[in-house]
């Protein structure tokens, strides 16, 4: 099974990359779950035609009881992707990290993986590994590989370096490892060179090169990924290539 956690600086395009990768995997015939682990709870919105799923934290806050079925906290989106959002606490209160831990415990109790039997699970994680809750997706049983999304911008590379160090800090037999970098281009001067320098220094591979494209914005305005909106476009092709690569590697590992 493909189990990925996607990290990166806030606003760098993690949710866009995650949703497009999920959509590409689904289009290639895989049964996919995407779990947004960000209080913004907008990771899966473009898989759902712009209509968001109720985040788990909202469900718990409003009902004061736990759901009995996965269907109560999920929605099926493009390509039959099962979409879940952890959500977060009331802004300024509570603990977002605890929200992720509680959601994961709940999904385990509801036997999400046993019942849904996915081929791929993607965790879209807020910015940085800021506390225990945000490390939960890379624990044993969850993601086995981490993809870091970065552009050539200095602060994005800085965050990418922090994430790589944090994941390395947890590196032992059962934790996820950084598989590579998704270069999400932002039209920065010498962008490829900058990202490649970081990749070389960190011993990481640039596993995908996503061009700066208006297609992404165009289809997101319609509540879609580019995979759904225009599967033939160059951006979509890059996501398909990444998805196929991950599928092939997963087959080899089996």
């Amino acid at each position: 099974m493909i189990k990925l956690a996607i990290y990166g600086k806030g606003g760098i395009g993690k949710s866009t990359c995650t949703a497009n990768l999920a959509a590409a995997l689904a289009s290639l015939g895989k049964r996919v779950i995407q779990i947004g682990c960000d209080p913004k709870a907008d990771s899966t919105i473009n898989l759902l035609g712009g209509t968001p799923v109720t985040p788990v934290m909202n469900y718990l806050r409003e009902r004061d009881e736990e759901p009995e079925k996965i269907e109560e906290i999920s929605k099926v989106g493009f390509g039959n992707i099962l979409c879940i959002e952890t959500g977060g606490p009331t802004p300024g209160l509570g603990c977002a990290g605890r929200g992720i831990i509680s959601t994961f415990s709940l999904l385990e109790e509801l036997e999400l993986f046993e019942k849904y039997k996915p081929d791929a699970v993607l965790y879209d994680v807020l910015g940085d590994v800021v506390c225990g809750g945000f490390a939960a997706p890379i624990r044993e049983g969850y993601a086995s590989q981490v993809l870091i999304v970065t552009s050539g911008e200095k602060m994005a590379l800085y965050a990418a370096n922090n994430i790589n160090s944090a994941v390395k800090n947890f590196e032992d037999r059962s934790y996820a490892r950084v598989r590579g970098i998704i270069m999400n281009r932002r039209s920065v001067e010498n962008e490829e060179e900058k990202v490649q320098t970081f990749a070389d220094k960190s011993g990481l591979e640039i596993i995908a090169d996503i061009p700066r494209s208006n297609d992404i914005i165009k289809y997101e305005d319609m509540g879609k990924t580019v995979i759904e909106g225009d599967p033939e476009c160059e951006t979509a092709k890059r996501f398909f290539e990444l998805a196929q690569k991950l599928i092939d590697e997963d087959k080899e590992n089996d």
Binding site: G97, R98, I100, I101, S105, L106, G132, A135, A136, F170
Partner: protein, 292 residues
């Protein structure tokens, strides 16, 4: 609520789940009803809480990891003869906000095992609610402890705040105490009784019934005197669950050790108890002679 309250099953069914009266919702107030009163055992009455239950593995010791304020109530255990098996690692504010406890716990376990004049069979790390927010991966910390001290280490969670949830502390700790069992060849005429941390009384009819059904050995965790006896629990052919709080542990034992289980409900009417034993007999393929 001081007035007595009742509702018929038909009224309850008609109202639907959403309209369950507050009187029946345990989180809204204290409930006193006949079976609940019989089942209830206050930790203050020196029953089995997470800490005492966590020490059910023979020869094990426990390290309580907690801020001083939540570790204090454990003094009660000393009076029950656990003072030689119970140790503390107190967390301060800096440990909590910096995650320093991740390195302190393995050091403490190593020091603890080094100070003892015997090698404990296992170290239970009991951590309190504070960890629910820290999000410590205790499984990983326990592996580090094992590497540091060379003794099996198991987490137990004293998360009082999850008491009303699907996996409350007393359910989780049952899984912890059986987690050191390793798969082995099962013996067809042996079984386990899972449920409580004290044994059933010796004259309990279930022993005779199981014996008459050909069961030669009935294992109970609380009767195990040594770690070797504890290890024998995994050779049982099946588990009998007599407390729903042990169901999660039984499911884990089925998954890891291949031991299936059958659950008996707590009943108070003789005819129902009899029917249940008959059903148990059918489930394990024997007829019980309950006329004696």
């Amino acid at each position: 609520m001081t007035e007595s309250f009742y509702i018929t099953a038909a009224e309850l069914a008609k109202a639907g789940y959403e309209n369950t009266p507050d009187e029946l919702v345990s989180s809204k107030h204290m409930i006193y009803s006949s079976p609940a009163t019989l089942d209830f055992n206050s930790p203050g009455a020196k029953g089995f809480g997470v800490k005492r239950a966590g020490l059910a593995i023979p020869g094990s010791v426990m390290l309580l990891v907690a801020p001083g304020c939540c570790g204090r109530n454990t003094a009660l255990l000393n009076e029950l003869g656990y003072s030689e098996r119970f140790f503390y690692l107190l967390l301060d504010d800096t440990d909590i906000v910096t995650g320093r406890h991740l390195t302190k716990i393995p050091k403490a376990v190593k020091e603890l095992c080094g100070e003892l004049d015997y090698t404990p069979s296992a170290v239970m790390i009991c951590i309190t609610c504070v960890d629910a927010l820290l999000g410590t991966d205790m499984e990983r910390v326990c592996r580090k402890c094992e590497e540091a001290a060379g003794v099996p280490t198991v987490p137990a969670y004293m998360y009082a705040l999850t008491r009303e949830k699907r996996l409350p502390p007393m359910t989780a700790v049952r899984k912890s105490v059986y987690s050191l069992l390793k798969p082995q060849k099962r013996i067809s005429n042996e079984c386990n009784i899972l449920g409580f941390f004290a044994p059933l009384y010796d004259g309990c009819e279930i022993y005779d019934l199981l014996k008459s059904a050909g069961i030669k050995k009935v294992h109970e965790l609380s009767r195990c005197k040594t770690f070797e006896e504890y290890s024998e629990l995994s050779r049982a052919n099946f588990n009998i669950i007599i407390n729903p709080e042990a169901r999660y542990a039984a499911q884990d034992m089925e998954k890891r050790l291949g031991i299936p289980s059958v659950e008996l409900a707590r009943l108070y009417r003789i005819d129902k108890i009899r029917t249940q034993y008959r059903l148990l007999g059918q489930a394990i393929g024997v007829g019980f002679d309950d006329e004696k």
